[in-house]
């Protein structure tokens, strides 16, 4: 109870609400999200349907009909669910956080897998080798899985290689590793996307028939390791 992180609760329509710990990318806030996620998973709120953890927020989706039957009269479901959530948040202990898994992710930065790598290097006045070096110099935290099944949001990258999203989305192959602002991420499935693609991993991040469905999970620490095109093909 010695540490508290300020938060806001706001509605996300009439059947969900979001707890926002501060609109920032930070490991401490992401830990708070994971704490609350696990707390609510193990002891769900009444009528709770599911949870969506993000960078620094957690959204609770609930069954509006069920909640409206359970709520005290004179209160809206939103007010009542908000109060229950406040109570849970008060009991949350932010002190210790679960240990992170460390996962090595091989990436091939070959130009044939990296349609935006040369343009990014040019824009940043760096060589392609420097961009690759900077991209894998530091480990990254998996901040969230979202957008697509298994799409992995990682942060934060070296400021020297940040690039805004592209104006027009392009078709992107599964396994593609991209950059958007201070984030780097991995496309788990083929999809249109606006991130700057600088490489590809042979790992299958999402498999609908596998248990678990995704290779990575929120809170993991990953390290990119460069592999050649031959190693990619052999993987």
């Amino acid at each position: 109870m010695s540490s508290t992180i300020p938060y806001h609760i706001f509605p996300l329509g009439d059947a969900a609400m979001t707890v926002d710990f501060g609109a920032r990318i930070s490991p401490a806030l992401n830990n708070a999200v994971m704490k609350l996620y696990h707390e609510l998973q193990s002891a769900p709120l009444p009528g709770m349907k599911e949870l969506t953890p993000a960078y620094s927020s957690l959204s609770v989706h609930y069954d509006l009909l069920q909640c409206s039957r359970l709520r005290p009269p004179e209160r809206t479901v939103f007010e009542w669910m908000g109060e229950l959530l406040h109570k849970r948040l008060k009991m949350l202990d932010h002190e210790e956080s679960a240990p992170s898994r460390e996962v090595i992710v091989p990436v091939c930065y070959d130009i044939s897998f990296a349609p935006d790598l040369e343009a990014l290097a040019r824009q940043k006045n760096l060589s392609v080798e420097e961009v690759i070096h900077l991209h894998q110099a530091n480990p990254y935290r998996v901040y969230l899985l979202g957008f697509l099944p298994g799409f992995t949001y990682l942060g934060e990258i070296d400021e020297r290689i940040t690039m805004p999203r592209k104006m027009q989305p392009n078709p992107v192959m599964a396994g593609s590793v991209g950059i958007a602002g201070l984030q780097t991420g991995i496309y788990s499935l083929a999809s249109p996307g606006g991130w700057n693609i600088i490489g590809r991993t042979p790992l299958k991040l999402f498999d609908k028939d596998r248990e678990p469905l995704t290779l990575l999970q929120q809170g993991d620490i990953i390290k990119f390791v460069s592999i050649s095109k031959d190693e990619f093909e052999d993987h």
């Binding site: 996300l12 009439d14 979001t18 926002d20 949870l51 509006l64």
Partner: protein, 331 residues
């Protein structure tokens, strides 16, 4: 014995009430766009609300029944015909073996639902029948139905004797889709997190002008066209959860309403959210149609949803009773 797709439609998928519990790894709920109508179709044939239905757009598929089946159609009116003869929506219809169901014209609405008594013999993926096209999973082999596909049916009884040697038979009960006594032409919304960040003139514009559904509207979301709406300040946002009915403001000043196949998280301002009770109306809009928004409060939104669900419950009880009487009478 199967249901065979003789000719595929533009987008016919198996859907249910949605897949919950997987958004934390980026798997959105999918499910029927118009869950209210889907539930009515299931109720009419005595199915559990969780049974899968076919969601069809126009032009819709032509379907061949290899065995006697009890069906019901709800949602959009596509002029359903059985062996060339018109059949009603919102009523259970017994279809004989070798019956062919087709849809001839788009009269009203955007999505029709077909429920079949006993459901379909389809494997669930992550506890739901809904088709997740991006993941290639759920529904019928993870994709929209194609010509020559076959779906195994599971009738709980042999419907043959009840047909009395007719090609089809419309059963004597019906359901009403009219759940609110004073239906509003407006779509009710709740203010979103970033609503207060809108310029004053844009806040007014949201409710005082109309927005038109563009052709870039599908199961993922509806792109609207209208007078541009602006934020006072354009701050970069980090990704956070969005939901069915969330109205996002795109950088070009236009609005998008997220629908059943929406992505789990987004980084655009959330101006507002369409109330749950009005999802059914939203789901039946087609490109070119105009929307007018009306801002409401939580008490109203919740009361309307409860009212809508009470209507559904009444239909379920009523249909169950009629079905028992019908089967008991033996004809």
């Amino acid at each position: 014995m199967n249901l065979r797709i003789i000719k595929s439609g533009i987008l016919d998928t198996v859907q249910d009430q949605g897949r919950y519990g997987w958004q934390h790894i980026g798997i959105n709920a999918s499910g029927a766009m118009d869950r209210f109508s889907a539930e009515i179709a299931n109720a009419l044939v005595g199915n559990d609300p969780a049974q899968p239905v076919l969601e069809m757009h126009f032009p819709a598929a032509a379907l061949f029944f290899e065995q006697p089946s009890l069906i019901a159609i709800s949602g959009a009116d596509f002029s359903a015909v059985l062996n060339g003869e018109p059949i009603p929506s919102y009523k259970p219809v017994l279809v004989n073996k070798y019956g062919i169901l087709q849809f001839e014209r788009l009269n009203q609405g955007a999505r029709a639902y077909l429920a079949i008594e006993g459901g379909m013999n389809i494997r669930k993926w992550l506890n739901s029948y809904s088709t997740h096209i991006k993941a290639g999973a759920g529904g019928h082999t993870g994709r929209p139905l194609a010509t020559d596909d076959e779906i195994r049916l599971n009738p709980s009884i042999d419907w043959q004797p009840y047909l009395r040697r007719q090609e089809f038979r419309v059963l004597p009960w019906r359901a009403s889709s009219c759940w609110d006594k004073e239906p509003s032409a407006e779509i009710y919304i709740l203010k979103g997190r970033e609503f207060s960040g809108l310029a004053d003139s844009s806040q007014l514009r949201l409710t005082e002008t109309t927005f038109t559904l563009t052709p870039q509207s599908d199961r993922m979301g509806y792109r609207l066209h209208g007078d541009p709406v602006e934020m006072q300040q354009k701050d970069e946002m980090i990704s956070t959860a969005v939901t069915f009915g969330t109205i996002q403001l795109l950088p070009n000043g236009q609005l998008t309403i997220l629908m059943a196949d929406h992505q789990t998280t987004g980084g655009y301002p959330r101006i507002a959210h369409v109330i749950s009770a009005h999802h059914t109306r939203l789901a039946q809009l087609s490109p070119g149609e105009k929307i007018r928004f009306h801002i409401t409060d939580y008490a109203t939104a919740e009361a309307l949803y409860v009212q809508q669900q009470a209507h559904l419950q009444m239909i379920r009880y009523g249909c169950q009773l009629k079905m028992e009487q019908f089967i008991h009478a033996g004809h």
